[in-house]
Symmetry: C2
Subunit: 169 residues, 2 copies
């Protein structure tokens, strides 16, 4: 218990999701990630098995294993985990994202703009449409964080659409 590990964004994602769920199995985490969060911060499903184990070993999660058939592992956030999560949430960050866009990278290194724009534009348009649809469906009661995140996604997708249109012109 409580060996010192470094907490990565993945760690906080797992902590945050388990905390929100109360209790969760890796597979359930996978579902949640796939249903939204994964669009702006994806995690391989194998990580959702490995990371809770790490966190449990360090005392941030408590594991309960099913006795019968599947022997699924269910995880809960411990007091230490809740504290770590809160500490992270309460610490505003000045860290900046990098774009790290594969298409842009090619452009940077001299790829021909037109075909790239032709490939990129429709996928961004589609994703933008998805986000906007989601946003409309969002109820009044939706948590502010979720709404903000979606709005950030929409803003950046609009920017990409604008960008690739210009590049393709």
């Amino acid at each position: 218990m409580s060996s010192k590990i470094r907490l990565t964004p993945t760690s906080y994602i797992v902590l945050g999701l388990v905390e929100a769920a109360g209790e969760a199995t890796p597979y359930e985490l996978k579902q949640v990630v796939a249903s939204g969060l994964g669009d702006f911060w994806s995690i391989q499903h194998a990580q959702l098995y490995a990371e809770p184990e790490r966190l449990a070993a360090a005392g941030y999660l408590k594991e309960r294993r099913e006795e019968s058939g599947r022997r699924r592992r269910h995880y809960k956030v411990t007091a230490a985990g809740r504290k770590a999560l809160k500490g992270w949430l309460d610490e505003p960050t000045e860290e900046l994202t990098e774009l790290r866009d594969p298409g842009l990278l090619k452009l940077f290194f001299g790829a021909t703009p037109k075909p790239l724009a032709t490939a990129q534009l429709p996928v961004h348009e589609r994703r933008l449409a998805d986000y906007e649809a989601l946003h409309k469906e969002l109820g009044e009661d939706a948590p502010a964080g979720i709404r903000f995140s979606l709005e950030a996604g929409i803003g950046h997708e609009r920017e990409w659409v604008r960008f690739w249109k210009q590049v393709g012109a």
Copy 2:
């Protein structure tokens, strides 16, 4: 020579930079990355030693080692390397970036918006100003890829500024 390795974005960045330089040492690559590209796709300096070695072992780069004092390693792109780079450049991608923004992640998980916005806004404003200054300095002869990348950066930084202003309001 020519063992099969997987080429990652890092690989193409190294190939692209070495190709542009004609010949380069890891340290020179580090300089180049630090002076611009790193803002939207950073690479740890240790990678700039490891990756050329990998690429050389696979036949994409040729290594020349200094005889005297420092015994620096100088790399050049081979024909195979040039072919790989061109293949990558010529293949338009539909891949999408994820936002993966640390601040947004906290917001998503329920961090208090105000302090986050307060921390994020100034750094984005500063970066935006930097980009805009760079853009002004860009000569007529600047490669299109560089110009586009910078413009993408500007667009997204504007979006972040707008976003965090709204979040903070």
